[in-house]
């Protein structure tokens, strides 16, 4: 197929879902079946188009240097340069064009059954289509600006979908939290975009990232603000800020666990196919900017460290969760940390590989958990006939102590793993597919995709370690430990959910889900097992030879993408047994440990979870290291306080404000002094406190909220302004 035709197809690929959004919103929003059919068909069309592009792209030898380009149109003709928006497919984009539409299509199909009884069925599909379309658009964008547009569009969709059960207060809180948290990252990204543009005059990926000259200039330019790093480094770090937000890296990871307040297919979209992958995708795109600084440069260090911290953080928290989806959410955070850490040590190919395999098995796990929840809910309904809860509309018991849950006191939580058990017999398809996904997540050796991709990261980290790279050493150790935890909590989850005897009536009466839900599970299970074989290392004992020329295909395909830079040359790696052994030990060890604790003697109803024996550590982990509480104290409260106080200040006039500040300061000092008095001198007087307080009270009487108060403050400003002008004039 000619390149022009492929370019056109690339243009067309993101359009069907976007169009289906428009069509559903404008025309068919009253017809449930038609709407969902349109959405599914649109996504499948997009999938087919993408596959055509993908399989053709695979055949093009020099795709890395010469990507497929679509016709560009002029977006912002600025004075100096024109700003073109176009599409392009390079090896990185091509692999995403395989994974994204495939995963999306399966999620869409799954949703038709999962959401079947929801009253806002059509709205759900509209937003889901927009979400998928935006992700497709992001993947094919050839420049940072249109990428950012789709990026924000996705942010908005995630907001709308996480808050889909808007009657549930926790859902819209989660939606706002997701939007606000990711927006912090978005703004850093925007700064990065603007800075990149001022430095290079273009935002086109290929003009910047495939151009060694531009890259080296950027690396040689010192960054603004005298940070002591190069412009390339600063831009990379700012753009990484976007990734931190979108891909839920520490310290902006707090939104992702709450995001599972949305319907389960949305969680699958966010955790696998779209949102979080977009963040990693962006970072992968800008890998050359990181690379140009040489190994172990500041930007690499930042990325690697954040990734490692996140991997560990997510894995530890996941151990102490009861909610089936929440375990998966933290495991996503942890696995994203793996990918980011991989990028941080320069393991580009390994990161892509892990991202893709993770997308498949995590989508599988989420949809599997959705199937479980669905089944348990049905069981619950079966038991308590009268109850007609909406799907997923269950309150959470474990973290929301608000009044809203109190009203529905003995609410049954179909997502709590303590309410499950023994589902293996009730839901066989779900069990076996979930098992496949779980083993892939745990990195069960040789037969799962997760093993190969995780092993690849560890191997690269070990390679860096052996060359004395600091960050690689950290990453290797942290990731190995996290992988151990991962295997452990996976075993815990599978055991608690599927093995043993049912711990509640609901679980005992659970039923297998409909074919529309199990079909995608089966497809994804196949990928979760076999996808790993696309990238078996060439020099791997026995298997490497078995695959012959196909071994290490993904890595060699994807690496043509990168420009050869003086500063960074990846040497050919030799096979080393240590990382392989590490992978084997952590995966099998974690699974074995989990099996010992949970599998052998499954939990009985009412029995406490063995992890709770960890005591304080458990509480700490169960409460997610108290990050939410910390953020509330550090950011949200002060901001709210400033805002509230400021409006009071306006009311009173500026002088009063100053006096009140003085008063507060005085009270604060007085308080400190009083403490000092009490402890040291015992007794003493409150003279100072009283004096300042009375001054403040005097000031309060100013309260008038009058025009003249406004003007008084304006006059102060005018006087100050004059002083400035006159001083600066000298």
């Amino acid at each position: 197929m000619s390149r022009e035709l492929l370019g056109t197809l690339t243009w067309l690929a993101p359009l069907p879902p976007l169009l289906s959004f428009a069509v559903i919103v404008l025309f068919t929003n009253r017809y449930r079946q038609i709407s969902s059919a349109i959405a599914v068909v649109a996504m499948l069309t997009s999938c087919v188009l993408s596959f055509v592009v993908f399989f053709n792209a695979v055949g093009i030898g020099n795709l890395g240097e010469d990507p497929i380009r679509g016709i560009a149109y002029s977006f912002i003709p600025t004075a100096g340069s024109t700003f073109n928006i176009g599409v392009a497919v390079d090896p990185l984009g091509a692999t995403f064009m395989f994974m994204v539409p495939l995963a999306c299509s399966l999620i869409f199909i799954y949703s038709t059954s999962y959401m079947a009884s929801d009253p806002l069925y059509t709205r759900f599909f509209a937003f889901l289509s927009l979400f998928g379309g935006a992700m497709m658009g992001l993947v094919v964008s050839d420049n940072l600006l249109s990428l950012f547009v789709f990026w924000e569009l996705m942010g908005f969709c995630s907001y709308a979908l996480i808050g889909f059960f808007y009657r549930k207060p926790s859902a819209y809180k989660a939606a706002v939290k997701a939007f606000m948290t990711t927006r912090v990252g978005d703004m850093l990204l925007l700064l990065g975009i603007v800075y990149l543009y001022t430095q290079t005059g273009t935002l086109n990926f290929f003009d910047v990232l495939h151009n060694a000259k531009v890259l080296e200039t950027l690396a040689a330019t010192p960054a603004v603000l005298g940070l002591g790093i190069s412009a390339a480094g600063l831009i990379a770090i700012l753009i990484f800020g976007g990734t931190v937000g979108k891909s839920a890296q520490f310290p902006l990871h707090v939104w992702l666990p709450d995001a599972m307040e949305g319907p389960t297919p949305v969680s699958a979209m966010i955790h696998a196919a779209t949102m979080v992958s977009a963040g990693i995708f962006l970072l992968l795109r800008f890998f050359p900017l990181l690379q140009v600084g040489g190994p172990d440069n500041t930007a690499f260090m930042v990325v690697g460290l954040i990734g490692a911290i996140t991997a560990l953080l997510g894995a530890t928290i996941a151990v102490a969760q009861y909610d089936i989806k929440r375990v998966l959410a933290f495991s996503t955070i942890s696995q994203l940390g793996f990918m980011v850490a991989a990028i941080g040590i320069g393991a580009y190919g390994a990161a892509v590989f892990h991202l893709l395999s993770h997308a498949f098995f995590k989508a599988l796990l989420f949809m599997g958990s959705g199937s479980v929840i669905h089944g348990v809910e049905h069981g619950h309904e079966h038991v308590a006939h009268a109850h007609g809860d909406e799907h997923g509309n269950a309150e959470e018991l474990d973290h929301d102590h608000g009044a809203e849950t109190a009203s529905a006191a003995p609410a049954f939580d179909p997502q709590d793993m303590r309410n499950m058990g023994g589902l293996r017999k009730r839901m066989p398809i779900t069990f076996y597919t979930f098992l496949a996904g779980g083993l892939a997540l745990a990195g069960f050796p040789f037969i799962t995709a997760g093993f190969w991709s995780k092993d690849e990261i560890l191997a690269d980290a070990f390679h860096g370690l052996s060359t004395g790279s600091l960050i690689s050493t950290i990453v290797f150790i942290v990731l190995a430990f996290s992988a151990l935890l991962t295997a452990f909590y996976t075993a815990r989850q599978i055991s608690m959910t599927f093995l043993g005897e049912a711990r509640t009536e609901a679980a005992a009466n659970a039923t297998e889900s409909a074919p529309a839900m199990t079909f995608p599970l089966i497809v994804l299970a196949v990928f979760a097992i076999f996808f790993g074989f696309v990238n078996v290392p060439k020099d791997f004992p026995v298997l490497g030879a078995l695959f012959g020329p196909a071994a290490g295909w993904l890595k060699s395909f994807i690496s043509t993408q990168l420009v050869e830079l003086q500063a960074f040359k990846e040497e050919a790696q030799v096979f080393n047994a240590i990382p392989l052994l590490t992978s084997l030990v952590v995966a099998l060890g974690g699974l074995g440990l989990g099996w010992l604790v949970y599998g052998q003697k499954p939990l009985k109803a009412g029995q406490t979870d063995p992890v709770e024996k960890l005591g304080g550590l458990f509480t700490f982990l169960h409460n997610r290291w108290y990050f939410d509480e910390l953020y509330r104290v550090i950011f949200i409260k002060p901001l709210q306080a400033i805002a509230d106080n400021y409006s009071r200040v306006i009311d009173k006039g500026v002088i009063d404000w100053a006096l009140e500040g003085l008063y507060k300061l005085g009270v604060g000092i007085a308080g400190a002094l009083k403490e000092f008095d009490r402890v040291i001198i015992t007794g003493g007087s409150d003279l100072i406190g009283n004096t300042v307080r009375s001054i403040g009270r005097e000031g309060r009487e100013l309260q008038s909220g009058q025009v003249q108060n406004y003007l008084l403050s304006a006059l102060i400003a005018a006087v100050v302004l004059m002083v400035f002008f006159l001083v600066l004039a000298q």
Binding site: L702, Q708, L715, A718
Partner: protein, 167 residues
């Protein structure tokens, strides 16, 4: 000390005193009369600054027409007694502060002007600023602002009518 300077000082003192009177009088009518006095002295200053036509306008339009309007409204509303007995609680703070700030502003201005004392001189040639010259300017280069101002006055008329008309 030239005679001009003496006259200036006398007039300046009168105008400042008139302004003080404006600020401190408890009766709005007196305040308005003080303002008229101020305007009148400024009109004399205009004369000294070679602006005879403006001096006339100052007296007839400003001190005459505009201030009469003020007095008219004061009388109409019966608001001449200024209720200073019940100041708002904030007034205690606000007044000294406002005066202080005003003084600061003045000091800044004074600083600017005093640094220029004697540094600049008046242009040697006295310009003609009679009605004819003003008129020629007004309907020559200043035609546009003149027309705009007339629209402005029209707006003011409409506004006054709209705002005060009872339904």
């Amino acid at each position: 000390m030239t005679s001009e300077l003496i006259v200036f000082i006398v007039l300046a003192i009168i105008s400042v005193l008139a302004a003080v009177g404006l600020l401190s009088s408890r009766n709005a009518v007196y305040a308005a009369l003080f303002l008229i006095l101020n305007f009148a002295t400024v009109a004399v200053l205009y004369l000294m600054l070679n602006a005879p036509f403006l001096a006339i306008i100052q007296i007839s339009v400003y001190a005459g027409a505009i201030m009469v309007l003020f007095l008219f409204v004061i009388m109409l509303l019966g608001a001449e007694r200024l209720n200073q007995a019940a100041p708002q609680p904030g007034l205690r703070w606000q007044r000294p502060l406002a005066i202080g700030l005003g003084a600061l502003l003045l000091i800044q201005a004074a600083y600017v002007f005093i640094t220029r004392f004697n540094s600049t001189t008046v242009a040697p040639n006295l310009i003609q600023a009679g009605p004819m010259e003003i008129g020629l300017k007004l309907f020559g280069p200043y035609l546009l602002p003149f027309e705009v101002t007339s629209i402005l006055l029209l707006v003011a008329i409409i506004g006054a009518v709209v705002l005060t008309r009872e339904k």
